[in-house]
Each structure stands twice: as structure tokens, then as C-alpha cells.
């Protein structure tokens, strides 16, 4: 499988702001040299707990955060360090779906406006009417009624908002989509619908998908490969089947073991206790 996105040695640090009288605090490094690759049409899961750096990794891949070291290659071209204008053609090909649709949809724009403007910006339609036709097509595909174009985000349910988020990400026909914890706030039945939709779309449109989540069960269900992150480093990566059947890193083992499956298992609570206490000391 050809690689679409290849990141090597990514290092991201945030500079702590210094107060007027206090000395400058040292920079906090969030990513310590991360490598990751996503093939064309492939779904890769990025899993980690809070503080693992998974969200920062996603943003670094999209160029929303500038790495202090390392490179990102998109379809063979270096996109790290490009300025706004040079990046513009790549923007259309790399899109993002956000965790909280409430804050990722402008509350004062209609859904129609949210979906039409990107189309017009990138010249995928010559006028408003043509763009609207494209938007209707996308809304049909994600299972939303056409009247949604006149609605505002607060008039929709959580699941509907997330579908709008997906619609926005795919309306530009990108090659790569980053999904950042997109089902974390949803009920399990809504989650199932949204993930199914995403799975269908990625296969129909041959999209490369980087799926960030803390939920290993969700990742197992939709990803082909998985990258396990802890403390800003990749501790393990490989095909899902392999990593789940025979995890090599202790942390991966601990993570898998901590997932409560909906089966009664009296020994589960006390299993692995010693390992955990040692690891989190």
C-alpha cells in the first residue's frame, strides 16, 4: 500500500509563558520524536490516555501546530514549515472531524453556510446554487434531511451535529481525514451509527483515516493498524489483530487489560494490580 502521510521524528514543545517577574519556565515537550505513517485508503488508530500526546500528534500532522523538529510528508511533498499560501492546496486534501460538534460548528452560522463556504473557497463550484447542490448530495449521503441547511447547530441532536462534522470533512473530497475523539461524547447506539457511516465513507471515497481515540474497543472495530502512545512516545504499533492478540509493550498490555468488556469476569478487578501500581508509581 502506498504511503500517503509519513511523519518522522516529530517533536512538539510548548513554551510556557513567562510572567513579568518570574523566570522563564522550561518548554514542555509534548511529543518526543514520533514516527507514524498512513497509507492511501488505510484507517490507522492512534490510541492513548490523557497526556499521551495523541491530540497534538493529530494537529501536527495537519500543520495546525508547528513541530520543533521532524518532518511530515504528504503524498511525497514536505509540508512541514510551509507558509499559509503554500499550504493552501494541501488544505483541501487534508481535513478534520472534531470531538465536540458544539464548539466545532460556529453557532451563528447556518449549517448550509458552514458547508457551502469551503466549497466556494476551493472553487469546487462556480456559484452558490451549484455549491448548494453539492451540499444536498453530501447531506443525503450522511443521512441528514436537506432542510438541515437552514438550521443552526443548537437545533440539532448530538448525533446529527457529528454527521454535519463528517459532512464538512468529506465535502471537499479530501484524501486524508483526521478524526479526533469523534464519538467520545455519544451514546453507544449513536456511536454505532456514526462509526458505521464513517467506515462506509472511507471505503467508498478511498480515504486515509487517522482515528484518535482513548477507546481501544472502538479502534479495534474500525482500524486496520493501531499506534499506541504514552507520554509523547509511540510505545507500540502494528496491525490491529497482531497488537491485540499479542501486545509486546507492557503499557499496551495494561491498556488492553483495563478495558471492561460487557462480560462477567470475577477475577478481572484484581488482575494486573501489581503491574499497574508499579507503572503509575
Amino acid at each position: 500500500m502506498a504511503d500517503l502521510l509519513v511523519a518522522t521524528g516529530l517533536v512538539v514543545s510548548y513554551h510556557q509563558t513567562r510572567g513579568f517577574l518570574s523566570p522563564a519556565k522550561p518548554a514542555a515537550t509534548v511529543l518526543h520524536g514520533v514516527d507514524i505513517r498512513v497509507g492511501k485508503g488505510e484507517t490507522v488508530g492512534i490510541v492513548g490516555e490523557s497526556g499521551s500526546g495523541k491530540t497534538t500528534l493529530g494537529r501536527a500532522l495537519l500543520g495546525l501546530v508547528a513541530p520543533s523538529a521532524g518532518t511530515v510528508l504528504f503524498d511525497g511533498t514536505h509540508i512541514t514549515g510551509l507558509d499559509q499560501r503554500a499550504r493552501q492546496p494541501f488544505r483541501r486534501r487534508m481535513q478534520m472531524i472534531f470531538q465536540d460538534p458544539m464548539s466545532s460548528l460556529n453557532p451563528r452560522h447556518t449549517i448550509g453556510r458552514i458547508l457551502i463556504e469551503p466549497i466556494l473557497l476551493h472553487g469546487l463550484a462556480i456559484d452558490h446554487a451549484t455549491a448548494l447542490t453539492l451540499v444536498y448530495g453530501v447531506l443525503d449521503r450522511v443521512g441528514l434531511s436537506r432542510s438541515t441547511v437552514d438550521r443552526y447547530s443548537f437545533e440539532l441532536s448530538g448525533g446529527q451535529r457529528q454527521r454535519v462534522g463528517i459532512a464538512r470533512a468529506v465535502v471537499l473530497q479530501p484524501d486524508f481525514v483526521l478524526a479526533d475523539e469523534i464519538v467520545s461524547g455519544l451514546d453507544v447506539s449513536t456511536q454505532a451509527q456514526v462509526l458505521r457511516l464513517l467506515k462506509e465513507l472511507t471505503s467508498e471515497m478511498h480515504l486515509a483515516l487517522a482515528f484518535i481515540s482513548h477507546d481501544l474497543s472502538v479502534i479495534r472495530s474500525i482500524c486496520q493498524r493501531v499506534v499506541v502512545m504514552h507520554d509523547g512516545r509511540v510505545v507500540e504499533e502494528g496491525p490491529c489483530e497482531q497488537v491485540f492478540a499479542a501486545p509486546r509493550a507492557d503499557y499496551t498490555r495494561m491498556l488492553i487489560d483495563a478495558i471492561p468488556l460487557p462480560t462477567v469476569d470475577p477475577g478481572w478487578l484484581n488482575r494486573g494490580a501489581a503491574v499497574e501500581i508499579a507503572a503509575t508509581a
Binding site: S103, S104, L105, N106, P107, R108, R168
Partner: protein, 249 residues
């Protein structure tokens, strides 16, 4: 629009009470002042001065302060540091002193009242808008706009500004009320327009001296002032509600 000439003096009917009281004079609905001038007409003419100040002064302060606040909040770092320092230093000057100085330098008159208000109050807009803008800039829909490829000016004016406008409207109507009161104070001490033109503050100053014989000369402009400030606030609420889809739900 006024029933009588606000400047016409008629000592024969000086300090006549409003209609409904004893000794009232027909044609002079709210009575007359110490020089026989019709109170109602003077209040109406005074409205013109007050409203001019309200719209122009508040509008200019809003425009200048908001633009600077938007840039400071969105561009951050150097621009923000510069503008914030400016605001801090500016606010360190005592406002009353500043306005008196200004009027002394430029000379009394409506334009100096407006300039004084703008010069002092733009900082209020700047600070609030800066904070709001910074908050909005953190939102995911701004990140989404960036991901899609919108330019910085587009993001600032199309994504962020609509979400700052509700606060701005509230602040603007508040400022309009303040401007009217400031003008009244300045004309009370004689620093506003010339004494020919009737102003509410001027009327209050005159009315204060004859409050025992003709309380209405003081009361009427006070009520007008009060009512105007309340009206502005109501206007702000209504405007916000009709313009803002989020508030309309």
C-alpha cells in the same frame, strides 16, 4: 417639532407650572422656567444634543476600541502586548481630569464633549472585545476554518466577529447611556455647548437654583435623562435578540 420656541423668553409667564396645576398657562404643557421659556420645547431640543452625543461618541469609541480589541485578541503576542500596554497606560489617567484638560485645550462645545468621551471610553470596548476575541479564537470552529484554508482576515471577520457582536451591542447601548449622562454633567458645569442651545444638563443646572419655586424645571430634564438611558438598554436587548440566532431560540 417643539410647540414653542425654546429660546423665546417671556418674563410675564416665568415659572409657570405644568398643565394640571394651578396657575398653568395653556400652550406650555410642562410649564416654563425662570426666564419664561417653555420647558417642554427646551427638553425636546435638548434631546437632539443628547442623542447626537450618544450615537457619535459611543459609536466612535466602539469602533476604535473594538477594532483594536479584535486585533489584540486575535493576533496576540507582539500586537497584543503593545495594545494592552497602551490600554493600561491610558487608563491610568484620571478621566475627569483628562476631559477637563481636553475641553480646556480644544474649547467648550459639542465636538469636544464627543472627543472627550471617545478618548476616555474606547479602552472599555478594547478590553472586553479583546477578552471575547481571545475566547473565541480557542474554539474548534476557528481551528476548523483554518483546516479548511480560510485566511486570517476571513477567520477574524467571518467566524469570530459574529460571536463577539452580542457582547458588543450590550456594551454599546451601555456606553450610549453613559455618554448622555457625561454630556449632561459637562453641560451642567458649563463645559458643553454654548448656553444658547438648550441641553438637559444646562436645564438641570438652572432648575437646581429655583427648585423650591419651580421644581418642574429640574424634574423634567432629569426624567428625560433617566428615560433615555433605560430606553437605550432596552434597545440593546431587543437588537441583540433580533439579530442573534442563538438568543432567538
Amino acid at each position: 417639532m417643539a410647540p414653542q420656541d425654546p429660546l423665546a423668553q417671556n418674563l410675564l409667564i416665568a415659572t409657570v407650572p405644568p398643565i394640571g396645576f394651578a396657575d398653568a398657562e395653556p400652550g406650555y404643557l410642562l410649564g416654563t422656567d425662570g426666564l419664561g421659556r417653555d420647558v417642554l420645547s427646551r427638553v425636546i431640543f435638548g434631546t437632539r444634543v443628547s442623542l447626537t452625543v450618544a450615537f457619535v461618541a459611543a459609536g466612535l469609541a466602539c469602533l476604535i476600541g473594538s477594532l483594536l480589541g479584535l486585533f489584540a485578541g486575535f493576533l496576540g503576542k507582539f500586537v497584543d502586548a503593545l495594545i494592552s500596554r497602551l490600554v493600561d497606560i491610558w487608563m491610568a489617567f484620571p478621566p475627569v481630569l483628562l476631559s477637563i484638560l481636553l475641553v480646556a485645550v480644544i474649547g467648550a462645545g459639542l465636538h469636544s464633549v464627543i472627543i472627550a468621551i471617545v478618548v476616555i471610553d474606547w479602552t472599555r470596548f478594547c478590553r472586553v472585545v479583546r477578552t471575547e476575541t481571545m475566547g473565541q479564537a480557542q474554539m474548534d470552529y476557528v481551528v476548523a476554518a483554518r483546516t479548511i484554508g480560510f485566511s486570517n482576515p476571513a477567520i477574524l471577520f467571518r467566524e469570530i466577529l459574529p460571536n463577539v457582536v452580542p457582547v458588543l451591542i450590550a456594551l454599546l447601548t451601555l456606553e450610549m447611556g453613559i455618554a448622555v449622562v457625561v454630556e449632561a454633567i459637562l453641560s451642567f458645569v458649563g463645559l458643553s455647548v454654548s448656553s444658547d442651545t438648550p441641553t438637559w444638563g444646562g436645564m438641570i443646572a438652572e432648575g437646581r437654583q429655583i427648585v423650591h419655586e419651580a421644581w418642574w424645571v429640574l424634574a423634567v430634564p432629569l426624567v428625560a435623562l433617566f428615560a433615555t438611558v433605560i430606553a437605550f438598554n432596552q434597545l440593546g436587548d431587543g437588537l441583540a435578540r433580533s439579530l442573534d440566532p442563538v438568543l432567538r431560540r
